[in-house]
């Protein structure tokens, strides 16, 4: 946790010039999880640029990689909500 806080501070100085507050995610159930949890590690324009060409299976595989390999703190209950949000709003 300490490391997360320390890193969040240094990321803040980055955001001061690279203004990711410009990113507007589409509204819908699951947006809040995406905007808080995915955004711990990366700006959510990563989702926008990867759209719209992934289907449900494609987003499911990506979210699974983020959780299992990258350590995204998304719970098993949240995972299907996130996948549905991404598929509906950023899927093909």
């Amino acid at each position: 946790m300490q490391k997360i806080l320390f890193v969040a501070l240094s990321v803040l100085s980055l955001s001061a010039w690279a203004d990711e507050s410009k990113i507007h995610l589409k509204d819908g159930p699951g947006k809040d999880i995406v905007a808080t949890k995915c955004a711990i590690c990366h700006s959510t324009d990563m989702i926008q640029i990867n759209s719209p060409f992934l289907d449900h299976k494609g987003w499911e595989a990506l979210v699974a990689k983020m959780v299992n390999v990258m350590g995204a703190p998304i719970t098993p209950e949240e995972t299907p909500v996130v996948v549905d949000y991404l598929t509906k709003n950023y899927g093909k």
């Binding site: 997360i4 890193v7 980055l14 010039w17 990113i23 590690c41 324009d45 926008q48 640029i49 990867n50």
Partner: protein
């Protein structure tokens, strides 16, 4: 009014009915010989990719704010060396320490396959080893990934996840030899100061086979185009691995381990892999191959070129000379030919090659032609290297979108 093109199309159709398309003289076909699909980025990518400024950088094409992934606009490739303030930025992990200085930076050399581990300062590196300078292209493995059809997930780069610079530093082999490399050494494992935001994220750690690490062209660089490296390009020291894709060019390098075992982290074992046998000409990194997995680490860059001064759809006046310019590069065999077609690939002419800055550099090229009539001219450029390798007309699709060296086709209109 019937245009010449429509007339010819009609004539060709008529002849085909009469006796077969082979009767039509090649000049009269007026069709592009190669079905190269127009490159297209995904619509969400185009919308989100705005020009944004980073400290010390000109506005670049932002793919993602954080980790910062910013691409160089094509116009900068009209110069043979890409300016430091326009050089692309690519990071995997969002924690990029900003407090590393020329004074406090340290590089540790160790591992189970050196005799005497040691640590160097930037001052040691500059004073104790011979300086070398090399012009070399730094290109992301995934450059042009965004153009893959079907699209594949990742950072959706267009053409500009690359740059060419004069890199000055010291040979990695000189530094390794000071530590004494044991005969069982297998790989050199490289780590930079960047890190993930959560503990579980695999650190970005790469490795090279000994033969590449000991290559005289592989250097620890502290200067880029005569200046210290920009922070976002790896200040104070990054590895430069001429001919190989930029995934190996570890930025803000702080740890080097000479190991008797293959590196086993995610970024070597799982990421940056290409299907075995799809790119048979490429150098193999065999200690990273696992039988039955069917893949191998990406290594060298494929032969490639880019048209830099004329845009698709650009208009010219009849009577004007059209000059098409660009750059070409490869894995270091050296570009020896760039051919340009102005008729959709039916006929080809050799372009003039610019000054030779060494086999690992961009090679500039230019071709001039004076259109004789109004209409559309499909312009293609294709580079070849001294080993006889050239570009492809059809994408060799692979799941990570690597090695896209499809010949570019742009239309110019003469009116």
């Amino acid at each position: 009014m019937t245009s010449r093109r429509d007339f010819l199309k009609g004539a060709a159709g008529g002849l085909a009915v009469a006796g077969g398309a082979l009767l039509v003289p090649r000049w009269a076909m007026a069709e592009d010989r190669f079905a190269i699909p127009a490159p297209s980025l995904a619509s969400g990518n185009i919308e989100a990719s705005t020009l944004e400024s980073l400290p010390g950088k000109k506005p670049l094409i932002k793919r993602t704010f954080r980790a910062p992934n910013y691409e160089t606009p094509t116009e900068y490739f009209n110069e043979v060396f890409t300016p430091n303030d326009a050089f692309f930025v690519r990071w995997h992990l969002s924690y990029i320490p900003e407090d590393i200085t020329a004074e406090n930076w340290r590089l540790k050399i160790g591992g189970d396959s050196v005799n005497a581990p040691f640590e160097v300062t930037l001052d040691n590196l500059k004073k104790d080893y011979e300086h070398v300078e090399i012009a070399a292209v730094c290109q992301c493995s995934g450059n042009r990934r965004g153009l893959s059809q079907p699209h594949v997930a990742g950072v959706e780069w267009g053409y500009g996840a690359m740059g060419n610079a004069r890199w000055k530093g010291v040979r990695l082999k000189d530094v390794l030899n000071k530590a004494g490399v044991k005969k069982e050494a297998l790989e050199v494992i490289l780590n930079g100061a960047d890190a993930g935001v959560v503990e579980k994220t695999p650190d970005f750690i790469k490795s090279l086979p000994m033969w590449k690490a000991l290559d005289e062209n592989t250097i620890l660089a502290f200067e880029m185009n005569g200046e210290p490296l920009p922070h976002l390009n790896g200040f104070p020291v990054r590895l430069v691995v001429p001919g190989w894709t930029a995934t190996y060019w570890v930025k803000k390098i702080i740890d080097i381990n000479v190991s008797s075992k293959p590196a086993d982290g995610f970024w070597m074992r799982k990421a940056y892999r290409i299907p075995m046998n799809k790119f048979p000409e490429m150098a193999r990194f065999t200690s990273q191959e696992v039988a039955g997995e069917g893949n191998t680490p990406i290594t060298e860059m494929v032969v490639n070129s880019l048209i830099t001064n004329v845009k698709d759809g650009q208009r010219f006046k009849l009577g004007e000379t059209v000059e098409v310019k660009g750059v070409a590069w490869d894995s270091g065999k050296g570009i020896n030919l760039v051919e340009v077609s102005t008729d959709g690939g039916n006929t080809w002419n050799a372009a003039d090659l610019g000054k030779d800055y060494g086999n690992f550099s961009f090679r500039q090229w230019s071709f001039r032609f004076k259109p004789k009539s109004r209409g559309k001219y499909a312009v293609l450029a294709k580079a070849s290297n001294r080993a006889g390798s050239t570009q492809v007309f059809e994408l060799i699709w692979n799941p990570a979108g690597y090695h896209n060296n499809v010949v570019q086709k742009i239309d110019v209109h003469v009116a």
